[in-house]
Symmetry: C2
Subunit: 127 residues, 2 copies
């Protein structure tokens, strides 16, 4: 798998290692990363995004302790075999819950009509 699977924003408020961890979790749950699949090496990702290898290692390490990845000594990281790949819409939706709640909260504070919000979401989805 190429190192470009990850999208990192260096200037975002969310720390880099956490951006990586979040993407890993969602891409595994969504099936874009299948069990047994090998991940780009720490140095590969670090080089491609011009960040520190240890920052990537930190994300991988946390993913491992969450049961998402398995460490193959001398080889690299691999998507855990028992990592639920195609958890039902239900389970995957749970991972979207925080972002969904936040969106709704902000929309309420803005007193926006729900129709406009849904429309915008749809537009962003297609675009």
């Amino acid at each position: 798998m190429d190192a470009s699977i990850f999208t990192i924003q260096p200037n975002a408020a969310e720390p880099i290692y956490r951006q990586l961890l979040g993407q890993l979790g969602r891409m595994i749950a969504g099936g874009q990363l299948a069990p047994g699949e090998r991940l780009p090496s720490v140095r590969e990702v670090a080089g491609h995004h011009a960040i520190n290898p240890m920052t990537v290692s930190r994300a991988y390490g946390l993913a491992e302790s969450e049961g998402l990845l398995e460490r193959r000594r001398g080889v690299g990281m691999v998507v855990a075999t028992q990592a639920a790949p195609a958890a039902g819409d239900q389970a995957r939706m749970a991972l979207l819950e925080p972002a969904a709640r936040e969106l709704v909260r902000q929309a309420r504070e803005l007193e926006l009509p729900i129709e406009s919000v849904l429309k915008r979401i749809t537009s962003l989805w297609e675009g």
Copy 2:
């Protein structure tokens, strides 16, 4: 205006002063806070939420430099008179854009069907 207009989550990743600033901006844009309306005092908000007064002051100060609030010496902060209260849906929607983009990005990573996402949003809106 009561100090309970703000909702702060002390354990969230987003810093408190930024939570306050965001809510201020949206509630003013949405019209829940009308121009000329007085805000709860720094100490009031701080006491109510058990946080440091300077944290609230920081949010107020930033809001002032953004033109959202006006400082009345010895009196308190007031919603700026020239603060666009009922900017069109268009303008208010712009404030929702970051949250909307993030939601869509995560939904894509999760490979969720757009219908499920819209459904959940609607459900959260009504609930």
